[in-house]
Amino acid sequence: MHTPSNSAPAQVRAQLLQKLSEVLPADAIIDETEAQRPFECDALTLYRELPLLVVLPSSVEQVQQILQICQALSVPVVPRGSGTGLCAGSMPHPEGIVLGLSKLNRIIEIDALACTARVQPGVSNLSISQAAKAFGLYYAPDPSSQIACSIGGNIAENSGGVHCLKYGLTVHNVLSLEVLSVTGEPMTLGGQGLDSPGFDLLAPLIGSEGLLAVVTEITVKLLPIPELARVIMAGFDSVDNAGNAVSDIIGAGIIPAGLELMDALAIQAAEDFVHAGYPRDAAALLLCEVDGTVEEVETHIARVNQLFEAAGATTIRVSQSETERELLWRGRKSAFPAVGRLAPDYYCMDGTIPRGQVAYVLGEIARLGAEYGLRVANVFHAGDGNLHPLILFDAGDPNDIRKAEEFGAKILELSVAVGGCITGEHGVGLEKLGQMPSQFSEQELLQFEEIKAAFDPQLMLNPGKGIPILKRCQEYRALPARHGHMHGGES
């Protein structure tokens, strides 16, 4: 369990509390241990830590003042959105504050003519599309956590969703950011146009896991809601056949709006959870959504149907209404909680692999699962090769935790070995620091460090996450013990 850090001098804490009270109302500072509990982890609950303080500012000015105070007192700052992250990215630092941005939750403006929305970082992903709906527009990236996750968190993780194959990731759908540097200096990155002068500073910022700057405002691109979207679901009696069907669709020149694969255990779990009508006996299930004008959708549905039949689909079902389309997606979108019901805990992995390797990789995962004696369900963003194996285990059993961790690490290394990467959308955070060297050389990791230092020379923003600090690790006083290892929930 959590062991509060004693190394932070009580004096710093007292000074911090006093300074912060001068700029924040009392209810914006969370001081009590029990009240801090909800902030001790993100959705990867194995990693827990308590901060010095949690602060919940309600204006950009307050955020700026908080940063200035922390800078003056050399206190690390961990930005936090909704805490739905899956890599311990917003887990607190024992000597730092949690900078919760949830109260900055205003949709500032929707420009229906330019097709953009200007929002604060604490706005939830889904609420942007809900607000844009009145104008016939929506925000395309749709992580399964979209009801809860914040757009600020999406920026920090470069989040994806089931519609990213066609519409891109967060990085493809953001026009500009207002950010505060670690010292509280404001900066505008990007603009209303489609590129910026000088360096493309949006590129390093998006996906930087709160390590480079605090995002205080975001302008996103909105797209017209397609006239029609339909889902075609197909069951297969082997993963191989389903994998081939994916290649056939792409080969036919069709870029579906979404293309998802689930394996047998995931299908059964999702079916038991939402009763979407998935074929419980299938070895693999594909969900393929096509969208566009009415004519386009009809043409593509017919073609995909043919391709699925030719690839040996054992069942095929096409959504006949919006309700049915949503039902078919609901199973996929609630796959994590559905699988979560099968065991006390699950550990979600996030490697990306070349699509063509899916059958091989799933075979290897099954083999490793047998070796470790742990069950695993797989959901796969098949269109873009992003694989989420969900390892089932019991966090009450230290031996199970160790096995799950080792198994997970092997899956990530396998992803790299077949030409992929350790994380497609969930980020490195604290969790995957240990696997960074399997994807990057020491020189590459040092280059990341140099970039970090260009934005944050004292390493005060979310220190100890995202990139392993090689050069500075002796100098830096408060890196959590044992990078890349679970150090919470073990007792």
Binding site: A112, L113, F135, G136, C164, L165, G168, M187, G191, Q192, G193, L194, D195, P197, G198, F199, D200, L201, A203, P204, G207, P224, I225, S247, I250, G251, G253, I255, G292, T293, E295, E296, E298, T299, H300, P354, R355, G356, H381, G383, G385, N386, G419, C421, T423, G424, G427, V428, Q439, F440, S441, Q443, E444, Q447, F448, E450, I451, K452, A453, A454
Partner: protein, 356 residues
């Protein structure tokens, strides 16, 4: 087609040791555009044209990897064989444009607002940094969030952050069918139509106004294109590919004078800046080209009012600043980032800004 990776690393190492600035050159197609012209006597030229060839191409994965010096024409031909394309429609400059230069200059054609830019399509790069280290960032898969996005950071940096030696890109299937509709309207009306149609869920994928005519290109599944063309009206343009080709290659008569050429990249809805003279609207109004001698300060103000930036793309005085100014906070960050990747300042010094 050859691998000159080792030589490139050597050249950078020597330049680093002797503090010789390097002028990085792909096919030479963009030497006199976009960046400042910097005196070449003390510079050594690092040629990438020989470091060429497609390394990997998997049509079913929608991924292509090629050395930086590979001509775009070679890539386009390989893709066309598989009925695929570079969706961002970069200019090939008569065959001289290379993949590395296209990324460094962030060059994308008419489809850019709808199909994304070269920056959007980059999946990974290999580069030599200013310490003469050969590094790989990103990868050959669609999604990769490990580490900072150094690949996309190269877009528009004009080679000042490293020598790009290899690029992996997402490629897309060729559109099944395209139709271009033409309307005879003035610039204001054209902008109005572009703005209205942006939010229509139709397969629009290029919108350009030049010299009294608006051109809208529909691209996608045949029935969707045909049906939309019927609803939108306008005249269907024969040989439309030739028109778009000329726009993207700067071969349209609008571009063929020796006038200075300015590029605005800005919010698409801002009023047409007709006070400055001849203008061409592309990217549905988000990219605007302006010809002739101009007061740079006036253009800078106009671009900023429209939420964007302006640069002297071609011609004019290229010894002063040609790119849009950045404020002091941004300038300091640019310098620190430059230092992080090129500590000795040997890559294309002064090309992007005089102070870097």
């Amino acid at each position: 087609m050859s691998d000159r990776g080792a030589e490139i690393v050597d050249t950078v190492a020597q330049a680093l040791a002797s503090k010789t600035p390097l002028s990085i050159n792909g096919g030479g197609s963009k030497t006199n555009i976009l960046g400042r012209s910097v005196s070449s006597d003390e510079f050594q030229t690092l040629e990438l044209g020989q470091h060429s060839g497609i390394i990997d191409y998997h049509p079913a994965e929608l991924v292509l990897t090629a050395r930086a010096g590979t001509p775009l024409t070679e890539i386009n031909a390989a893709l066309a064989n598989e009925e695929q394309m570079l969706a961002f429609e970069p200019p090939t400059f008569g065959g001289r444009a290379t993949l590395g230069g296209t990324l460094a200059c962030n060059m994308s054609g008419p489809a850019r607002p709808w199909s994304g830019s070269v920056r959007d399509m980059v999946l990974g790069v290999q580069l030599v940094n200013g310490k003469a280290e050969l590094l790989n960032f990103g990868g050959q898969v669609m999604k990769n969030v490990a580490g900072y996005d150094v690949s996309r950071l190269q877009a528009g940096a004009l080679g000042t952050l490293g020598v790009i030696t290899q690029v992996s890109l997402k490629v897309l299937p060729l559109a099944e069918h395209s139709v271009t509709l033409v309307y005879e309207v003035d610039a204001q009306q054209a902008l109005k139509i572009m703005n209205e149609r942006r939010s229509a869920a139709k397969p629009l994928n290029a919108a350009c106004w030049v010299q009294g005519f608006l051109y809208l290109r529909l691209s996608g599944a045949q029935p969707a294109v045909t049906q939309t063309a019927k609803v939108w009206g306008g005249e269907e343009m024969p040989n439309a590919d030739e028109f778009w080709q000329k726009i993207r290659e700067f071969e349209h008569p609008f571009f063929t004078s020796d006038h200075a050429l300015w590029r605005f990249s800005q919010g698409p809805t801002a009023a047409v800046q007709s006070e400055f003279g001849d203008i061409l609207l592309d990217w549905g109004g988000a990219q605007r080209w302006l010809r002739g001698e101009q007061q740079r300060d006036d253009l800078v103000k106009s671009a900023e009012d429209a939420g964007g930036h302006v640069g002297l793309y071609r011609g004019g005085d290229r010894t002063g600043e040609v790119n849009h100014p950045v404020n002091t906070v941004q300038k300091a960050l640019h310098q620190r980032l430059k230092h992080a990747l090129d500590p000795a300042g040997i890559f294309n010094p002064g090309r992007l800004y005089s102070w870097m």
